[in-house]
């Protein structure tokens, strides 16, 4: 199993979700996050007082999937979240050791 973590632009969430649903992905976890990469933050000015925010708001998406599906999940996410501009985000893929469905106690791929 793999855990795919994608950091994307907030307004791209719906498109990514749709693309992943088409692949048969059953669930995902979404978190509002802040961070920075190559994209510069914004400068805010209040009555002349300048504050530069170098943390940019993003959405973090976590999808657990069977090994066979991981490649297509990454591809679909990359395609759906892409605007071509700086700040589109990153995708990380991690090996997933175990998954448990809490209600039934099922483990492994079936639990996903």
């Amino acid at each position: 199993m793999k855990l795919v973590i994608a950091i994307i632009k907030p307004f791209k969430l719906d498109e990514v979700r749709e693309a992943l649903s088409l692949l048969g992905v059953q669930g995902m976890t979404v978190t509002e996050v802040k961070g920075f990469g190559r994209q510069k933050g914004q400068t805010e000015i209040y009555r002349g007082a300048e504050y530069s925010t170098n943390m940019v708001p993003k959405i973090k998406l976590e999808v657990a999937c069977p090994d066979a599906l991981a490649g297509r999940v990454v591809e679909a996410t990359q395609a759906a979240a892409n605007t071509g501009a700086i700040g589109d985000g990153k995708i990380f893929v991690l090996d997933l050791v175990e998954a448990v469905r809490i209600r039934t106690g099922e483990t492994g791929d079936i639990a996903l």
């Binding site: 805010e44 000015i45 209040y46 009555r47 002349g48 007082a49 504050y51």
Partner: protein, 449 residues
């Protein structure tokens, strides 16, 4: 027209009326006292002044509370709103106990009135206060209430520089002393018929010196003594809710019609002039502030718009009935430009932490307004002054009024703040300041999601 807020006890006048109403005594009465006719209380004037009075209350709660509260960090929202509201409430009680008599009571001297009307002694529903028109009066209770709201908002304005770190208890002690030794004497000097600056002929229609320079300078002095907020100016201290500040700005502008047009004390042409000036000076100032931001290479901002509106309102306050509409537009525009540089350039350069720019906007804007009124009053600039009005002598009087207010406010604030410090410690602990005054001082949070 200067602002005459002289209070005439109605007793004599009403007595005269009673006499005249009795035919048998009429001739005797006329022979004995060919006094001025009894003042008439007009229902229209009275209704307008009651309306104006509650409009000024609207400026404080929720206007100023939201305006100031939105500018603070979320952890200090309730503290800021509560300090504004409680200081204003305290001012109302002090006003009826000894404030009114000190400012507008009978007798006294050029600096304060006598204490004969302490606890509103002798005031009845039949008592009247004079307006600017001979023979026209308003009920004294209305005048007392109207002036009460001015004392209340002025002390609340001062707090703009010290929020986010001053103790609630210190605010209350400061308010009582400051009103007594600073506000009441200055209100008397400028607005009472026996006051020093009133006699000199200082023009202050609705409170450029009494309210704004006074509050602004006091705010600066208080902020310097209190010290900077922890982390100022390196930590982020952006307004937590520009939405609240925007709402507060709107309420201030609406309420300000009571403040300015109400200062005519009658529902007449002078009030109408103050009304249109309160529209156009403010409109110009809001736009000019955004323009100045653009000229300085920034984006025109919402806070800039709100700041300009308040700067314009402040500047037009002394000029409200003392200016033509186009003089008011110029005055508002100049005030916006000067205030912008005061808060964006002067403040960081000098390094004091006037948290919400009470000095930068009310103090500086008040000075621009008070000095500018000497010009806007001139008929040559479209003002209501007489044809023989001379700018230079009036300018000197205005400068003297500004100077006296600055010196008086500075000395009085030093005393009031140090007394508050001795009694309450003045400043919250470092932990409370870090955690926020809402929790530390009031045991609540503004936002519970």
């Amino acid at each position: 027209m200067t602002l005459l807020k002289r209070v005439a006890s109605a007793t004599t006048a009403l007595g005269a009326t009673a006499f005249l109403a009795m035919p048998a005594w009429a001739q005797e009465a006329v022979a004995a006292a060919p006094a001025a006719p009894a003042p008439t209380v007009d229902k229209g004037d009275t209704a307008w002044m009651m309306m104006s009075t509650v409009l000024v209350l609207l400026m404080i709660l929720p206007g100023l509370a939201l305006f100031y509260g939105g500018l603070t960090r979320a952890k200090n929202m309730l503290s800021t709103m509560t300090q504004v509201g409680a200081a204003a409430a305290f001012a109302m009680l002090i006003w009826v106990m000894w404030g009114y008599t000190m400012a507008f009571g009978d007798g006294g001297n050029a600096v304060i009135s006598g204490f004969g009307k302490a606890f509103l002694s002798g005031v009845t529903p039949a008592s009247t206060a004079a307006t600017f028109t001979a023979g026209v009066a308003i009920p004294e209770y209305v005048f007392i209430s109207f002036q009460m709201t001015f004392a209340a908002i002025t002390v609340a304005l001062v707090l703009g520089s010290v929020v986010e770190r001053i103790k609630f208890s210190a605010v209350m002690v400061f308010a009582a002393i400051w009103l007594t030794i600073v506000y009441f004497p200055i209100a008397h000097m400028v607005w009472a018929s026996t006051g020093y600056l009133f006699i000199l002929g200082a023009l202050d229609f609705a409170g450029g010196t009494v309210v704004h320079i006074n509050a602004g300078v006091s705010a600066l002095v208080a902020a310097i003594i209190l010290g900077k907020r922890i982390g100022y100016p390196t930590e982020r201290m952006a307004p937590h809710s520009m939405t609240m500040t925007g709402i507060g700005t709107g309420l201030l502008w609406v309420g300000w019609f009571g403040f300015n047009a109400g200062s005519a004390l009658e529902a007449n042409g002078s009030a109408a002039l103050a009304m249109i000036n309160t529209f156009v000076a403010t409109a110009a100032a809001g736009l000019v502030w955004m323009l100045v931001e653009r000229l300085n290479g920034h984006k025109g901002s919402a806070l800039g718009f709100c700041s300009g509106i308040v700067a314009g309102l402040v500047a037009v306050t002394p000029a409200a009935g003392n200016s033509g509409p186009f003089g008011a537009i110029v005055l508002g525009s100049i005030a916006s430009i000067v205030c912008y540089y005061a808060v964006a350039v002067l403040k960081p350069k000098l390094g004091y932490d006037d948290a919400l720019d009470a000095f930068g906007i009310h103090g500086i804007g008040g000075m621009v307004g008070a000095i500018g009124t000497a010009f806007t009053y001139a008929p040559g600039f479209g003002g209501p002054g007489a044809a023989d009005y001379a700018i230079v002598p009036k300018l000197l009087v205005q400068l003297q009024a500004v100077g006296i207010t600055i010196v008086w406010a500075t000395i009085g604030t030093v005393i009031a703040i140090y007394v508050a410090k001795a009694i309450t410690g003045l400043r919250v602990s470092t932990e409370v300041e870090r955690e926020g005054l809402d929790l530390g001082e009031h045991g609540e949070r503004a936002y519970n999601y």
